[in-house]
């Protein structure tokens, strides 16, 4: 099919692959990027929030033509039980700044834009092509290229960057990493709800391109570890919910049943009223954190983005880690090529060293024990109910004296979860957070 050797082949055209291909191509390397979708983005799903900082470090002027939806000025963190919502809200006019920090985006459009920039930087991007196999030197095991589902032999490259996403088959089947575990992955489903722009802005108290994001947890996941969200786009709402796959398997809950429950919640339904649903999507999310990160490099290969489990589940960060790992991988490959050294495991170990020094690994390491602490059904059922009852007791004016209300609230916690349960929940989260 292609009878030349590339400096690098990038498998996948999501944020990690695009950041990597752009970084290498703009530094003069000969890059081939292969994408199985009809166009970049057609296989990709995200909430989606774009964190500007990570993209700025790749494409500083991205705001000029990137398809951005709304800049985020307000964050709502909801704790939900079946009938109530309590939580925290932060809205600031400071987020109406010249170079906003967070935007909502629609991935199919964003990825397509990013890919155009990658192509303009000089990379050859071929879509509708599934990479079926990594080709390795039979003696040394070194990765020397890829085979695709198109006719022809294999395509040679000095290095293959695996930006194949959370459901990446290549690295697994080549034995470069073990399959992700069901308790290290979430399954999320999402719908796109369209509304007239002025209706949406009135419902969320927005002007111009201001946006709101809502992150929610509680009885909506029926005891499973997971969260739900509502993000405001220009003329649509991204509405989704996700839980650990191991929890789905154990409980027999269905993802669409959960989404239906969330949509119909009395605090959510009015936000979605009379919307026109135009897409239903599903995707996995890496949730294993630091302890789930696989081997990241070897002779002739690197792994970036979701395929490497680079997601900070606590802060809902993923695409920024994808872009950052992609950029750093690209810089490292360029650096090694520039001094004419081989792209072997020893030289590529620089990638892991640089990640260790960046916020990517520092943040993931900080929360390394949190996934286990959050796998506690009381956090998603018992506490949201207790907190809802407590607030209702507190706010209801009914002639009961305040001292008695306080006692009732405190007693309700100890009665329900006992002292040892409370102490262990607080302790495990505090330790995980440290």
């Amino acid at each position: 099919m292609i009878d030349e050797t590339f400096d690098a082949i990038v498998v996948g055209a999501g944020p990690a692959g695009n950041a990597c291909a752009y970084t290498m191509a703009s530094r003069g390397l000969k890059v081939l990027q292969l994408e199985r979708g009809e166009y970049p983005g057609s296989k990709n799903v995200q909430g989606a929030i774009l964190y500007a900082d990570a993209l700025e470090k790749v494409i500083p002027d991205f705001r000029e033509d990137a398809p951005l939806e709304r800049h985020v000025i307000e964050q709502r963190m909801w704790m939900m039980n079946d009938r109530s919502v309590s939580g925290m809200q932060y809205r600031s006019d400071d987020f109406n700044e010249e170079r906003p920090n967070r935007y909502t985006i629609i991935r199919a459009q964003f990825d397509k834009w990013f890919s155009k920039r990658v192509q303009a930087a000089g990379a050859l991007v071929i879509c509708e092509t599934t990479v079926t196999e990594l080709v390795r030197n039979t003696q040394t095991g070194r990765v020397i290229g890829v085979r695709t589902d198109r006719a022809g032999g294999f395509i040679k490259a000095d290095v293959v960057v695996l930006a194949e996403g959370v459901n990446g088959l290549l690295g697994e089947r080549a034995g470069l990493r073990t399959p992700h575990k069901a308790n290290h992955l979430a399954l999320a489903v999402k719908e796109m709800h369209f509304l007239p722009r002025d209706t949406l802005e009135a419902r969320f108290n927005l002007q111009g391109d201001e946006g709101v994001v809502i992150e929610a947890a509680g009885t909506i996941t029926r005891g499973m570890t997971g969260t739900a969200f509502v993000y405001t786009n220009k003329e649509s709402l991204s509405v989704g919910i996700g839980c650990l796959i191991s929890d789905f398997k154990e409980t027999g809950e269905t993802p669409y049943g959960l989404l239906e429950g969330f949509r119909k919640h009395p605090a959510v339904a009015p936000l979605l009223a009379e919307s026109d649903v135009k897409e239903y999507a599903a995707h996995m999310i890496p949730e294993g954190g630091y302890n789930a990160i696989p081997q990241l490099y070897g002779d002739g290969w690197l792994v970036v983005g979701d395929a490497g489990q680079f997601v900070n589940a606590v802060h809902r960060e993923g695409s920024n880690l994808a872009m950052t790992t992609g950029r750093i991988a690209g810089e490292v490959i360029h650096q090694i090529k520039a001094r004419r050294d081989p792209l072997d495991a020893e030289n590529l170990s620089l990638y892991a060293q640089k990640l260790e020094k960046s916020f990517v690994m520092k943040d993931l390491k900080k929360y390394r024990n949190l996934p286990r602490a959050l796998h506690n059904k009381h956090l998603f059922t018992t506490y949201p109910n207790l907190i809802s009852q407590a607030l209702q007791t507190w706010f209801r004016v009914d002639g009961v004296e305040k001292k008695q209300k306080e006692n009732e609230i405190v007693k309700s916690f100890f009665r329900t979860r006992k002292f040892t349960g409370l102490a262990s929940d607080v302790w495990s989260i505090a330790r995980g957070w440290r």
Binding site: R36, G37, E38, G41, S42, K43, N44, V45, Q46, D82, I106, R107, A108, D111, C127, E128, T129, T130, T132, T148, D149, R150, V166, N167, L169, P179, H180, K181, A182, L185, L187, V189, E191, M192, T219, I220, R222, G223, S236, I245, F248, K249, G252, E253, T254, P255, Y256, G257, E260, G261, K264, H265, V277, K278, E279, Y280, A281, A282, H283, M284
Partner: protein, 101 residues
Amino acid sequence: MASDVASPEVRVEDRLFQNRYLVDVGRPHIKVREHAQPSKELLALTRICPAKCYALNDSGQVEVTPDGCMECGTCRVIAEAQGDIEWSYPRGGYGVLFKFG
């Protein structure tokens, strides 16, 4: 607890109807291994698959119809390791085509 909030029969078909697909006719990208009795993993797929591609047939085996598959890979995580299913990506360009993603 919240199960009374959701109707038990959510029509997934109606949701998938909104999506774009290019089905590779005659080349399903997922296959279920022949079995007399489904394993608990295969049974789990009838609940967890977000596109409801897996269903029990009249004689009690789990069958897959991957036309509405969104290629999330959840079934692969649950049932590939022990050989219950075979999973590969559709040929380039085929399968689900997200308009928004």
